[in-house]
Structure formats: structure tokens, C-alpha cells
């Protein structure tokens, strides 16, 4: 057993209001630079829709992620040798127009225009070419289902058996905030010929070394989530950094901190590194989710704690893992799912499937609506979150409905026995607290400090003290 710590995030899609605050605060902090204008480390897309970049889920086109080739795990873009031939030209690399061309407006004309019969207008100007341009696509061009064509060409519909008409009376939508998943088996890392992308040993954050990156661009098509970007100014790859300067100091990422809907949870997960291979080699994609849960270790299990200590994981990390909101959502209650686990990158950002729109429609008819007659087709959510396994989605929605049923009884001072026998005394109440009340302190539990002992810190600060003390001088 090789225990690794992973800082992980869970998002409660039920509560995402699609405000894009997360995208904007992230952009203001990290990608407001020349060459990075088009990048959204965090973006929120309306589903159904084509997403950002357009059709990122179409892996026939991009060849993202890993595939099992006769039981052998391989990058979908090809073997190592064939991929070296793609150094000069990568057929699957997205280009600027797959995202959008960033632009600004000629605001100057508003101020300096001569007196005219008509109002002066600020016309759009490309930030790449500095020339006038026609804006025909942008981030969230299809927000809130604008332009129905985009919604109809959602990739997930192609795999669904039931027909989605998107007629007005049964139209549906939901928001999907997306960022890098800091995967356990990151395809971007596996694809990088220079070895510039790495997974951090201590907290699992996946980063691109700006020194080592040579601009070979293989990470970009290989990430099935299209969360590595090419900076056309510095000519190197960039990606979400999980706000590591904040996480290292025990603060949640900017997108989590500023989330208006308070939908984001962050905490530590322990996993068994030796078992990750088993997950990625799972034959049936629908079984991957279950295998992912198996890889996560119970931080309250004394054997795990002992082993973690032995392997040098600091006490504050163990404590954080034992009180991790993400662990609770993912493993204890099993209500959070990985996005497109079938890409086999073992993503570490989790999503709780949404249900609100359904409930409201059903409430008029029955007190306990049936998950089957929900507004968002279960089959659609299953495509996104469970490799098409509808039972998983149904089970989770059932649980979320039970939280509501339970709270209704509890608030009206009725007996909750019918739930208690299934879930135990307080589980549903705890779920209600974490999901609905969602206090800042409950949502985030990130250990401060890194894996540096006190003695090592002194050394790092330059205060070497008395050289020659074996194992440090402060014991």
C-alpha cells in the first residue's frame, strides 16, 4: 500500500446558478495576460451544449484520454513512437477558432470621436491580430441554451438511446462548471514528451513547468477535458494550477472561495497509488467509478493512519483527511461522481448530480417524486457522470430526495423513523447541513503547511543552527 494525499474538489451541481463568478475571478487572477486571454482554467458551460472548446467531448476528433488496447493502457493519440512523429504537426491539436478569438473594443472612439449625427460605437478588435473583427463566437456564446443548434449538437446525445427532441415543453438545462481534474492518471502528463508536466507528490496538483515545457503541444489534445492550453505569446502550455499558492496556505482555490452558489467543497483524499493501475485497466467503463471508490482509503482506519504516518504524511494532513468534506461526499455518502470517468484519467474533481428543476415540476402531483420522471433525462446525466450507468444516478438522486423528505418530516416535528432505519440516526441531517447550509468552514478543510518538518523549515530559512545533529537539532 502506497498512500498518497490528493487535494480534491466536489461540486454540488444542484446549486450552481451559472453566474460565471468562478470563471472571472480565476481569469483575473491567472489568465489576464497576452497569449492567455482565450484561456479559461475554469469555465461554466450550459448543458446541453457544445462546451468550451467546441465539442471537447468528441474524442473521435481529439483523441483525448487513455484507451485499453488488448488490455494495455495507451494514450488515445497513439503509442510513444508514433507520437514523436507528431512533433512537427499534431493532427489532433485544437486551434484558436475551436475556443474563440479574444477581442476588445475600440473604446477610444467613444471619447475621441468628432461631433457626428450618430453615436460613436466601440467596434470589436482582435487581441491576436489587433485588427477589426466580427465577433461570431465567444466563451458561453450558447449560455442558457442561446441558439438551440448548439444544444442539439451536444456530444452526449449521440451516445444516448432515447431520442432527445429539445422541444420547448420538455427542454432542460443545467450548468457544468469545469476545471482541471488533477487526475490520478493524467493523460496530459503521460503525453508530455519533455516531461514538463508533473503531478505533485505532496498534494497531487498537476502542474506544467514553464522552464521545461518546449511547446511540443502533446498535452493539449491528450487531456480529454481540454484543460491544457497553448499560450500563443510564450509558446508554452498552461493549465489550472489548483491555485497552489493558496492551497499551500490552507486556503481554498479562488474559484471555490468566490463561488456565489457556495457549491464547491475542498478537502484531502488518501488513495492507494498501487491500485490506480487497476482502475485504469478496468474493462467495462461503467465499473471505473466503483473501482475509483475502492482506491480511496478510509482515513479513520487505524491501519491506514499508521501506514500514512510511516510513509511520512504529516499529522495535519491526516487530520484533514479524517475531516474532509470531499471524502464524506464521495466515499461516505457516495453522492459525488467523476466527470466522464470513461476517459480513464481518474479525475479528482467530483460532481453531485443536480435535481432541483425536476422536483418543482413534480411537486404539484406527488409528495415523493419519482426520479424517473425528472426533467433532466437520467440518461443524459449518466452520459456525463457515470459512463451511461443510469442506476448510479438514480440511486444518488433518490438519496438527495430523501434528504428533502427527511427534513420535511423533521421540520414539521414528525417521526423520521422511516429514514432512520435506512440511513441511521443523523446521516441525512449531516447531508442537509453540508449540502444546503454549507458553511465556509464545513465546505473547506485544507491542511496548511507542506510536508516539511520543523527542523527542515529552520534549515530552509537559513538558520542551520548547529550542524551535525543527526535527524535535526530540535528534538
Amino acid at each position: 500500500m502506497k498512500i498518497k494525499a490528493q487535494v480534491s474538489m466536489a461540486l454540488n451541481l444542484d446549486k450552481c446558478i451559472g453566474c460565471h463568478t468562478c470563471s472571472i475571478t480565476c481569469k483575473n487572477a491567472w489568465t489576464k495576460r497576452r497569449g492567455a486571454e482565450y484561456m479559461y482554467f475554469n469555465n461554466v458551460e450550459t448543458r446541453p451544449g457544445v462546451g468550451y472548446p467546441k465539442h471537447w467531448e468528441d474524442q473521435n476528433k481529439w483523441k483525448g484520454g487513455w484507451v485499453l488496447n488488448n488490455g494495455k493502457l495507451e494514450l488515445a493519440t497513439g503509442s510513444k513512437t508514433t507520437r514523436l512523429a507528431k512533433l512537427f504537426y499534431h493532427p489532433q491539436q485544437p486551434e484558436l477558432k475551436d475556443y474563440f478569438e479574444p477581442w476588445t473594443y475600440d473604446y477610444e472612439t467613444l471619447i475621441h470621436s468628432k461631433r457626428k449625427n450618430h453615436q460613436p460605437v466601440a467596434r470589436p478588435r482582435s487581441l491576436v491580430t489587433n485588427e477589426r473583427m466580427e465577433v461570431t463566437w465567444g466563451p458561453n456564446w450558447d449560455d442558457d441554451l442561446a441558439g438551440g443548434d448548439s444544444a442539439r449538437s451536444d456530444e452526449n446525445f449521440k451516445k444516448m438511446e432515447e431520442e432527445i427532441t429539445m422541444d420547448f415543453h420538455d427542454i432542460f438545462m443545467k450548468y457544468l462548471p469545469r476545471l482541471c481534474n488533477h487526475c490520478l492518471n493524467p493523460a496530459c502528463v503521460g503525453a508530455c514528451p519533455s516531461g514538463a508536466i508533473y503531478k505533485r507528490d505532496e498534494d497531487g496538483v498537476v502542474l506544467v513547468s514553464q522552464d521545461i515545457c518546449r511547446g511540443w503541444r502533446h498535452c493539449i489534445p491528450s487531456c480529454p477535458y481540454k484543460k491544457v492550453f497553448y499560450n500563443w505569446e510564450t509558446n508554452k502550455a498552461e493549465k489550472c494550477i489548483f491555485c497552489y499558492p493558496r492551497v499551500e496556505n490552507g486556503l481554498p482555490t479562488i474559484c471555490s472561495e468566490t463561488c456565489v452558489g457556495r457549491i464547491r467543497y475542498m478537502g484531502v483524499l488518501f488513495y492507494d497509488m498501487d491500485k490506480v493501475d487497476e482502475v485504469t485497466h478496468t474493462e467495462n467503463p461503467q465499473d471505473i467509478y466503483g473501482k475509483m471508490l475502492d482506491v480511496l482509503l478510509d482515513p479513520n482506519d487505524p491501519a491506514v493512519v499508521e501506514e500514512a504516518k510511516k510513509q511520512g504524511i504529516p499529522d495535519q494532513w491526516i487530520a484533514a483527511a479524517q475531516d474532509s468534506p470531499v471524502y464524506r461526499l464521495v466515499k461516505e455518502w457516495q453522492i459525488a461522481l467523476p466527470l466522464h470517468a470513461e476517459y480513464r484519467t481518474v479525475p479528482m474533481v467530483w460532481y453531485i448530480p443536480p435535481m432541483s428543476p425536476i422536483l418543482r415540476r413534480m411537486e404539484a402531483q406527488t409528495e415523493f417524486p419519482d426520479t424517473l420522471s425528472m426533467r433532466i433525462p437520467i440518461a443524459y446525466m449518466a452520459q456525463l457522470l457515470s459512463a451511461g450507468n443510469e442506476d448510479v444516478i438514480r440511486r444518488i438522486l433518490r438519496k438527495l430526495l430523501d434528504v428533502r423528505g427527511y427534513m420535511r418530516l423533521r421540520e414539521t416535528k414528525k417521526s423520521t423513523a422511516q429514514y432512520d432505519t435506512i440511513y441511521g440516526e443523523n446521516t441525512l441531517y449531516d447531508m442537509f447541513r453540508l449540502l444546503s447550509i454549507a458553511k465556509y468552514r464545513d465546505r473547506f478543510n485544507i491542511p496548511t503547511g507542506n510536508n516539511v518538518s520543523r527542523e527542515d523549515k529552520e534549515v530552509l530559512q537559513g538558520a542551520d543552527g548547529f550542524p551535525g545533529c543527526e535527524g535535526g537539532c530540535f528534538q
Partner: protein, 223 residues
């Protein structure tokens, strides 16, 4: 003067090439990149880039053979000078022509095609100087080769020994005095390219990631 040009300038070029490259690597690895423009224009890169690089590798391979291997060696292997010349021309000329075509196609792509406005963002002043001297090198190279198709000027008796002399630190500028003008320009322009090398995108040729072939797929690093 010619002593300097054929005995001193090459060493200046080598010094820039080697020391300059090391300095750049140490001081600013952060901007050491292929400077790929595929993101801004994929359509024309599709054929242009692979063909250009392939032809370039062929031409470089040809130069290594032609310049570094002395004529005595091929002759002792039983290959006469005319045989060698014919073989070199048969293999070299197509590669050279391909290189010229691909080079000008890429220049057209960068400066004149519909994507030129976008590629401007990928073209620095230094790039323009590089393309200028690279263009001269390639053009004089192919012109020299084709104009010398009959093998009247045996460069393996002049340029080859001169270049090898440089490598042994035994420069023989006298060998270069009477070579055809086109070859002289070819020499001067590659030396310029060598001097520019550390300051340009060309450095990416030193980063071919062979190590990737036997690396573990997932890289872990401590903070």
C-alpha cells in the same frame, strides 16, 4: 582579410553557437521553445511543417556525409569521385528542392497567406532575420548544388578539408580562396545562422525528446 573570414569567423560562429546556447539554456530556459504556430494556423502547417523538417533532416544528413567523411575514405571503399558525386546529387538534389519548396511555402504561409495576420503574433524581428539568412543559406545551397551538377568543382577537396581543419583547430583558410562565389555566400550565411542560433527558435532542435521513449508515463515531483 580572407584569413579572418575563413580562419577566424568560423570560430566566432562556433563560439556563439556553443557558448551562446549554453548561456541561454542556463539564463532563460523559460523561453526555450519550439515557438509552434500550429495553434494560430493549422491548415497550412499540415503539409508544410512535416515536409520542411523531413527535408531539412535529409539535407543535414547529406552534409554530415559530404563534409565530415574525407574523399579518401569513400575511395578506399571503392567508390570513385564521380560515382560519389552522382550518388550525392541523386539523393541531395531532390531533398534540397523539397526543402526549398517547403521553406518558401512556409514563408508564404507566414507572411502572405490568409493566416498571415495571425502568424504575425508568432513572428518576432529576430525571426525575420533568421528566415532571411536561412533563406539565403538554403537558396545558395541548392543553387550551388544544381549549378555544379557536372561536378566540375569538387567541394570535397576544398570545403570538406577546410571544415575538418577547423574542427582539428588547424584552420586552412587558403583552401577557400578560389571556391565559386555561390559557395562562399553559402559559407557566410550559415555562419550567420550559427551566430543567430542561440537567440532564435532554432534551439528547439536540441530538445528532441528521445528520453520520452523510455520514461515512465506519469511523472511525480516533489514541491
Amino acid at each position: 582579410m580572407s584569413d579572418f573570414v575563413w580562419g577566424g569567423l568560423p570560430y566566432i560562429a562556433f563560439t556563439f553557437l556553443i557558448v551562446g546556447t549554453i548561456v541561454r539554456y542556463v539564463v532563460s530556459e523559460r523561453n526555450w521553445t519550439t515557438k509552434s504556430s500550429e495553434f494560430l494556423d493549422k491548415k497550412h502547417a499540415k503539409w508544410g511543417e512535416p515536409i520542411f523538417h523531413f527535408a531539412l533532416l535529409c539535407v543535414i544528413g547529406g552534409h554530415v556525409m559530404g563534409i565530415l567523411i574525407p574523399q579518401i575514405v569513400t575511395e578506399s571503399l571503392g567508390m570513385s569521385e564521380t560515382q560519389y558525386h552522382d550518388m550525392a546529387l541523386m539523393a541531395g538534389a531532390p531533398a534540397g528542392i523539397l526543402l526549398v519548396l517547403a521553406f518558401f511555402y512556409l514563408m508564404w504561409r507566414r507572411f502572405l497567406s490568409g493566416s498571415a495576420a495571425y502568424l504575425k503574433a508568432n513572428t518576432s524581428t529576430m525571426d525575420k532575420w533568421l528566415y532571411f539568412f536561412l533563406g539565403i543559406t538554403i537558396l545558395t545551397g541548392i543553387t550551388g548544388t544544381l549549378s555544379n551538377a557536372d561536378g566540375a568543382f569538387n567541394y570535397r577537396l576544398f570545403i570538406g578539408p577546410w571544415f575538418r581543419g577547423l574542427l582539428y583547430f588547424d584552420p586552412q583558410p587558403g583552401l577557400m580562396l578560389h571556391i565559386p562565389l555561390i559557395f562562399k555566400i553559402h559559407m557566410l550565411s550559415w555562419m550567420t545562422v550559427a551566430i543567430l542560433f542561440p537567440f532564435t527558435r532554432l534551439v528547439h532542435c536540441l530538445s528532441i525528446p528521445f528520453r520520452y521513449l523510455w520514461r515512465a508515463p506519469i511523472v511525480y515531483r516533489k514541491r
